[in-house]
């Protein structure tokens, strides 16, 4: 348990990804089974142990020490788990306590019932030293957020065995803690575990953005184009009655989309985009947001904002792995499969016909739906390769929208920027053409260089008309004011803002010192961009 505790403490304080990786690999290489597998599961959030309530912990500790002294301690440290780990009275002498293995601790916790839970937990705390007590409390109160992503954990496994991370990724969902067959294979003691799991995740293929000269040498005839939808990239997999809906990182997102899951009555693995609405009427981005970041969903919400999948690719049908086949063939197989799927929940991502890059560029700039963020280019002959290979696939995003707005308020930043006015609220003109007023339409705090930051900061200080706390109101009328060119990804309707619009991902793209504020844009320009 001590080594696990030390690993946790070091991971928290090690900023660099490579440093974290070194620590993880070293731990995995020098810790026996099954402890290392359990540790890995704990880090990845896959360890199943009964949880402990903070109130129970507090009771346990104040039964054992003066509540006033506990109060002083908690005030000083600020974190309950850490305080209890530190002040827990040590009944036995340090040398007499042996260091229980993580597997022993986990087994003890799993055996604990509701009634003897507190006593068993207290016994464990008695046996552990301070860092191990901290690890135990964090583990059981669900506070083990230490900046180790599932991806990083899998990379560590790959490094341990000299394998590719994608190989681990493919196996991962078929394995259970403590992953004994996986370690045996990584250490060359056994064959690669068969992907025993039904409906396993297949690492996804991603595209590079089109850069300056990429298209110059590419032949349009080699590529198919389709719209790039701004939903959630998912992989829908059905096998032997098991259905799974994975995010592009391999997380199971099915609980949030039971409506889609219900319609997944196929034996296949489909790559596509999860959207909201119906194939005949794709919903807006704000509709989609109603379904994002939820662990579960009510029937009402699922009816109002139904989820469906726009299918891009077919990776597997029945027992056949299609990934080595060229895109054109996979696409043909996908088209054939579509006929058997529920048309309310699945549709085919249409190809965008084009003759030349200029032609495609024109389509990219005026997509038929606001939730399209550009086009995808896929070579007809490209196999499905996990990761982001350069060449076979490109994404060519629509250029951002821009608007000229006027700086209205500036707020001091945080950290390194705390001495600068670095968060800006900007507005556009609205109302009577002859005597318009500015309405705020958004906030931006990046997109400028350090030098530009200094210039804006000076401008703010020289043109302050009012102050409230960290915020300054800046002179902004028809004659004087600073015009900012704002780039953004799209617009939503908003009832929270007076302007009625909310920008997605706004940032400052240029400072228009040259432009008179009277020539900044009007609200109508933005309103025209709102989805119908």
């Amino acid at each position: 348990m001590r080594r696990f505790a030390e690993l946790l403490d070091r991971l928290v304080l090690t900023p660099a990804r490579n440093g974290k990786l070194t620590l993880l690999v070293d731990y995995l290489a020098t810790t026996p089974d099954p402890d290392r597998g359990l540790a890995l599961a704990a880090l990845a959030g896959d360890l199943d142990i009964p949880s402990v309530k903070p109130a129970m912990l507090r009771t346990l500790v104040t039964e054992r020490m003066d509540p006033v002294l506990f109060g002083y301690s908690y005030d000083y440290v600020g974190d309950l788990a850490e305080t209890i780990s530190l002040v827990w009275p040590e009944t036995s002498h340090e040398e007499e306590r042996h260091d229980p293995r993580l597997s022993e601790v986990v087994a003890t916790l799993q055996r604990a019932g509701r009634s003897d839970g507190p006593r068993i937990f207290a016994d464990l705390l008695d046996r552990l030293d301070i860092p191990a007590r901290f690890a135990l409390i964090k583990l059981t109160t669900g506070g083990l957020r230490i900046g180790v992503s599932a991806r990083l954990a899998k990379q560590a496994l790959a490094d341990l065995g000299g394998k590719e991370a994608n190989e681990i990724e493919e196996l991962w969902h078929g394995l259970k803690p403590p992953y004994l067959p996986l370690f045996a294979w990584l250490e060359g003691r056994a064959e690669k575990p068969a992907s025993a799991a039904l409906a396993m995740f297949r690492p996804v293929m991603l595209a590079h953005p089109v850069e300056d000269r990429d298209l110059e040498t590419a032949d349009p005839a080699d590529y198919a184009a389709e719209w790039k939808w701004d939903g959630i990239r998912v992989q829908a997999t059905g096998e032997g009655g098991v259905r799974r809906l994975y995010s592009r990182t391999g997380d199971d997102v099915a609980p949030a989309f039971p409506d889609l899951l219900e319609a997944m009555d196929f034996e296949a693995a489909i790559d596509g985009e999860l959207l909201v609405g119906s194939p005949s009427a794709t919903g807006s981005f704000s509709d989609l947001q109603q379904r994002l970041n939820r662990k579960s969903v009510s029937t009402k919400l699922a009816t109002r904002f139904p989820a469906f999948m726009r299918c891009y690719d077919l990776l597997q049908v029945g027992g056949e792995d299609l990934r080595p086949l060229p895109f054109a063939e996979r696409r043909a197989r996908l088209e054939a499969l579509m006929a058997s799927l529920d048309p309310e929940r699945f549709d085919l991502s249409p190809l965008v016909p084009f003759g030349s890059w200029e032609d495609l560029n024109a389509r990219r700039m005026s997509p038929p739906h606001p939730v399209i963020e550009g086009v995808m280019l896929k070579r007809h002959d490209s196999p499905y390769i996990p990761g982001r290979p350069k060449g076979p696939w490109f994404k060519w995003k629509r250029d951002p929208f821009t608007v000229d707005a006027v700086l209205m308020y500036a707020q001091r930043g945080h950290g390194k920027r705390s001495s600068f006015y670095s968060d800006y609220t900007f507005g556009v003109w609205a109302g009577d053409e002859a005597a318009p007023e500015l309405v705020p339409v958004g906030k931006a705090y990046f997109g400028f260089t350090d030098e530009e930051l200094r210039q804006i900061d000076k401008y703010v200080r020289d043109n302050t008309i009012e102050r409230f706390g960290p915020v300054r109101s800046v002179r902004a009328d028809m004659k004087s004011g600073l015009v900012l060119e704002i780039a953004f990804e799209g617009l939503n309707r908003s009832t929270r803002h007076r302007s009625g619009v909310a920008m997605r991902f706004p940032r400052i793209s240029r400072l228009r010192w040259d432009k008179p504020p009277a020539e900044a844009d009007r609200l109508e320009t933005l309103q025209a961009l709102l989805p119908g």
């Binding site: 403490d9 928290v12 304080l13 440093g19 006033v68 440290v77 850490e82 530190l86 340090e94």
Partner: protein, 336 residues
């Protein structure tokens, strides 16, 4: 004799009227008794100074020879008469030369602990509990959350990290007097035989410790000789905590920032300082040692100074010991 007639606070520090002297005064006084060489206890400019020979040497190294009008060396455990008070220095186990000071008159004995620790430390003489009526204890780590781990384990953590990151330099921040030498000595005891690089500010004090018989093994200044950063790959570099915030630290390859201090027990403290490897290593007593020491002295009254007084006062109350905070200003410990 009432205790406060034997010792009480004045703006200059803790004053003994029968002996007409101050203990660790924060302002220059005619006669000063000094517990140890840390800057918040030992200040220049006093008339007469009485301290252990090591403490006088250390003050000479830090402030130059003329740091006081006159100096007198105190021998541990040998009582001496100063005016109407009897004074005895006893070892405090804090840093080289550190002492507690016992002051007696008419059957009343008060012990001023100075800073002290109870853990084994090969760089100084071990603390000895002295029976007394009033014990004046420091409380730098006077909260139940402070429980120092075994120093041997902390050094093992450092060596573990050196093994894990052989391409990086480990920069260990440690206070110049006491902590730095203790870290080095602990590394030697753990079998680490490589050259340890030290910041210039540590050189004189390390030399002094060596001259006093504390073997620190091969040391070298942390300066670049060959002009390459790689020289320090895999090395341990010890410097004062302030040096690591300095441009000086940029000479090391992708350094692992370590800090050897009792404060590193609290994770937030490590985070705030950007410490990657906190080493919980203190020259003060932790909570368990403070309370155990109070019990061992048999004191019926405890004055708490220097840190977090309220928790120790509370503990004394729960254990039937009269206690009060002694508000002394100007002690912000240098050597925690």
């Amino acid at each position: 004799m009432r205790a406060r007639d034997l010792l009480h606070t004045r703006p200059e520090g803790l004053y003994c009227p029968p002996g007409d002297f101050f203990i660790d005064p924060v302002k220059p006084v005619e006669r000063a008794l000094i517990t140890h060489g840390h800057a918040d206890h030992a200040r220049p400019g006093n008339g007469k100074v009485l301290a252990t020979a090591e403490t006088l040497d250390i003050m000479g190294i830090r402030y130059g020879e003329g740091f006081a009008g006159s100096m007198q060396a105190a021998t541990l455990a040998e009582p001496m008469q100063i005016g109407d008070a009897r004074v005895t220095f006893h070892p405090a186990g804090h840093v080289l030369g550190s002492a507690q000071i016992a002051v007696e008159k008419d059957g009343m004995r008060i012990v001023a602990s100075g800073d002290y620790k109870r853990r084994a430390d090969l760089t100084c003489t071990a603390f000895k509990p002295i029976a007394c009526d009033v014990f004046i204890t420091e409380a730098t780590f006077g909260l139940p959350v402070f429980r120092h781990p075994d120093p041997v384990d902390e050094i093992a953590r450092l060596l573990d990290s050196v093994r894990q990151f052989p391409e990086r330099a480990h920069l260990v921040g440690a206070y110049a007097l006491g902590k730095a030498q203790r870290v080095i000595r602990l590394l030697r005891d753990a079998g680490y035989g490589e050259t340890i690089y030290i910041h210039g500010a540590l050189a004189k004090l390390c030399d002094y410790y060596v001259a006093q018989g504390v073997d620190l093994g091969p040391l070298a200044p942390a300066t670049i000789e060959t002009g390459t950063k790689d020289q320090f790959a895999g090395a341990i570099v010890v410097g004062t905590p302030s040096a690591f915030a300095d441009r000086w630290a940029r000479r090391f390859p992708d350094p692992v920032a370590c800090f050897a201090s009792g404060w590193m027990r609290i994770r937030q403290r490590a985070r705030q300082r950007g410490v990657e490897l906190p080493l919980i290593l203190s020259d003060h007593s932790d909570w368990d040692e403070l309370t155990a020491t109070i019990t061992e002295t048999g004191a019926s009254e405890v004055w708490v100074t220097h840190g977090r007084e309220e928790a120790l006062v509370r503990w004394c109350a729960l254990n039937g010991i009269t206690a009060q905070p002694l508000h002394l200003i100007g002690y912000e410990d240098e050597g925690d």
